[in-house]
């Protein structure tokens, strides 16, 4: 023991004066606010530009200049989109989840880890490094029971992570654009089967959870694995059906085609002026306006598919700890990061199909001509940077909504998840298919947008007004109503 740590010296040193409250002035605060957001958008802009630039560098090795899908461009895309964008975003999300949840819950959030030499929590960012290091260097403990099925036990996290990681390949992050003399796009796979690839690969993930649950040789894990298998298989049906309306509208299952159809076409952008694809001249041709209910259903089903709260019955931290109960260290980390990767992918799909993909509403042609004037006719290339930035912001927004649901809502019970999936979402999405098809036959996408607008109005009315009692009838929440017991008791 340290000789200087006598009781008396400790008592003296424990007289730490309490911190003097520092009032931050409003002006100061406003500066931070503006500066912070400016930095955030500048970072996004830089990120978008870098991504496009790197892909352009790789694409330079390809022969063809006028078409996308070259080999080297694909390599660049894999590097940039899947290894850098998805992985880094997923890693950041582990942090964002903690920090955002802190904000939702009136907390400060993680702020203890420090980088050497910097005496500032840096808003908790060093925790990312700390988390990763912890995951990497933690003991990889395998229980006796799990050791009997070591191969399957180790296969579990791989099968959970791998498919999730591969899903992002078909998601388009930028339009096809001439970027410094070469036509590129931020999309790994330009394939005709598009979204079917997502459905096919996503269903492989269920093997990971089932294997993990079974091979862990733990009853809680087994229950979790069973719940996960049942839930994931059930929701795949709904997941596919909710998108059928979108397929009808776009006439394609390719995500890049779907994205492209939701805003100004390339030709329109070149020409400038107003966006000719706007519905009724003012409504962006986004999927969410044609298929508002399908968007909600899809997001719900997708959250169930990736097992996030309120659908996290397979994990249910306070019930059965989940199928990854017996995993530790890096394998446990793979399961956790797979969840965040899946979140990114789902947000990407929702953005590409329903939120206009990379398109910026209304301003694209006009912005392009402005940018043309700024930089010698390279407006489309500059616009692409803004479009990628828009895509990222939309993805972040969807992710934020998913996290919001996670922290606000209680969890379903296992059978109630099934009830919701089979008895509510499935019929509703079937009805949606019929209505969408009818609307499309009646008047094409404009008619679908009309139906969609009606649906949106009805939905807003439902959320805001329906079922609300008149103010006079509202129950007195604080119980001031007179009642027999309120009188002083005489017995």
């Amino acid at each position: 023991m340290d000789a200087t740590l006598t009781p008396s010296s400790r008592l003296a040193s424990s007289d730490i004066p309490t911190a003097v409250p520092v009032k931050r002035t409003v002006g100061n605060w406003f500066g931070w606010l503006i500066g912070g957001w400016a930095m955030f958008f500048a970072f996004l802009f830089g990120l978008s530009a870098t991504m496009l630039g790197v892909v352009r560098l790789f694409a330079g090795f390809d022969e063809k200049k006028n078409s996308v899908g070259g080999t080297w461009e694909g390599v660049g895309n894999i590097l940039i989109l899947m290894l850098v964008f998805v992985m880094i975003l997923a890693t950041l999300l582990t942090m964002a989840d903690r920090k955002w949840s802190a904000m939702m819950q009136d907390r400060v959030g993680p702020n203890r880890a420090r980088l050497p030499g910097i005496d500032s929590p840096l808003a908790g960012l060093p925790h990312i490094i700390a988390d990763v290091l912890k995951m990497l260097f933690k003991e990889d403990f395998i229980s006796d029971g799990a050791a009997r099925q070591k191969l399957l036990f180790n296969l579990g996290p791989l099968l959970a992570f791998g498919p999730a990681f591969c899903l992002f390949a078909v998601i388009p992050m930028s339009p096809e654009v001439f970027f410094f003399g070469k036509r590129i796009s931020l999309q790994v796979l330009h394939v005709d089967w598009g979204i079917l690839y997502v459905f096919a690969l996503a269903s492989i993930g269920v093997f990971g959870t089932a294997l993990a649950g079974w091979s862990s040789d733990n009853k809680f894990a087994l229950l979790g694995g069973l719940r996960a298998s049942a839930q994931m298989i059930s929701y795949e049906v709904t997941l596919g059906l909710t998108l059928v309306g979108a397929f009808i509208a776009y006439g394609s299952v390719r995500l890049d085609v779907m994205s492209e159809l939701q805003g100004a076409t390339e030709a329109a952008i070149r020409i400038g002026g107003s966006d000719p694809t706007l519905f009724f001249g003012w409504l962006p041709a986004w999927g969410i306006f044609m298929q508002p209910l399908a968007a909600i259903f899809f997001l719900t089903a997708a959250m169930a598919e990736i097992k996030r709260t309120p659908f996290d019955t397979p994990e249910g931290e306070s019930e059965i700890i989940g199928y990854y109960l017996e995993y530790s260290g890096l394998k446990s980390g793979l399961f956790l990061i797979a969840e965040y990767v899946e979140t990114v992918v789902v947000a990407g799909i929702v953005t590409a199909i329903f939120l206009g993909g990379w398109h910026l509403p209304w301003i694209e042609p006009a912005l392009c001509s402005v940018l043309d004037g700024l930089w010698h006719g390279n407006g489309a290339a500059l616009l692409a940077i803004f479009q990628v930035m828009g895509f990222i912001i939309k993805v972040l927004l969807v992710i934020w909504v998913m996290f919001l649901a996670r922290w606000a809502l209680p969890r379903f019970r296992y059978d109630q998840v099934m009830h919701l999936g089979w008895k509510m979402l499935l019929p509703a999405s079937l009805a949606n298919v019929i209505i969408s098809a009818a609307a499309y036959l009646a008047g094409g996408r404009e008619a679908m947008a009309m139906v969609g607008l009606v649906e949106i109005v009805a939905f807003v009315g439902y959320v805001a007004f329906w079922g609300k009692k008149p103010a006079a009838d509202a129950p007195d929440a604080h119980g001031h109503a007179a009642d027999p017991h309120a009188a002083p008791a005489s017995h």
Partner: protein, 413 residues
Amino acid sequence: MSETQSHSAGVVPVNPDPLELDDELPSAFTKVKLGPSHPATHGTVRLNMTLDGERIVECIPEIGFLHRGFSKSSENATWHQVLPYTDRLNYVSPILNNVGYIMGVEKLIGITDTERSKYLRVAAGEISRICDHLTCVSAIGLELGAMSAFLYGVEAREILWDRVAELTGARMTTSWTRIGGVATDAPIGWIERVKETIPRVLELTDELDKLFSKNRIFVDRTRNVGVIGADEAISWGFTGPALRASGVDYDIRKAHPYLVYDRMEFSVPLGSRGDTFDRYLCRLEEIRQSAKIVLQALEQMPPGPIIIDDWRYALPPKKDVFSSIEGVMAHFKLIMEGIHVPAGEVYSFTEGSNGELGFHLVSNGAGKPYAIQVRAPGFPIVGALPRLLHGHSLGDLIPIFDSINMIGGEVEQ
């Protein structure tokens, strides 16, 4: 729990045939031990469960992990020294335990405390009750996955505990009451502070209400889950919010008014079905009623001494201890020998946060209690867990277990 035990419905009897062990899919029930360190068991309790898939066939609670020998320790301490032990019975609402215990001792002696002390006890006790109910209500949310609501509830609890700390000198282990009164008076400005705090607490309570009470996910998970009827609840020894959720109008504050509860205006919320959702709603409403009581008690509180002027039972004022020989002698006798409580036996009961908090006290006239046995409100309710869980699924275990608000300290003594 025998291996051959089958569910009462007799759906799948366990086949004891050893040959079946070699089958690929033996048709045995799964046995799962939940706890004692399981996230859902926020005391340390172990639930030995027999599961048929997700359905709970049998659940045997196993308690005692937190047993600290309250009764035995109390028999070897003076009457006053038992007070810190009572803090640790229900550590979320210690003042109610302090009051309950001291009321028992006063009943045994045959004295009552001063007027101001009564109001202080009621006000502080109700603050404790709010803390307890907030913990329970928001913990239901937490364990059902809605973590934000839990932190809102805990935030409200924290600011109340700040008030408790200002009043008693400690947040949780208050040891605040004394025979014939209370230890410390409300500090200057405390009453105004509480009046500022209560609206904020109610605001956060309303947020909990909005987050849960109409949310179908929550309602589905709690309604018709863990239903227990009125008669059955009584026979299982339910008291407090768990009993009132079953529709039985039994609140000791109303049925046997003690302290100044007969001067307070409040209503007793009653449930109708006796399910988890009713237990949740009753607690939520009791938070609001308790807030009303706190404000009323603070409003009506008269000035005056906070402890009786009887040197046989209450310590003499320090002025007399420092300057008079009578004071020093009385002080010395009380500290060294303990308070001489007349021989006798009483069962004293007050409304704890989870129900009837009873103390069976026996004195043989010496300075130490001869025997103390506590009727923890949670004890019979935890005993009824197998009944409450009967036929429910594993997912229902969580809301049921939360809604009965097991506090390991009091159940396991």
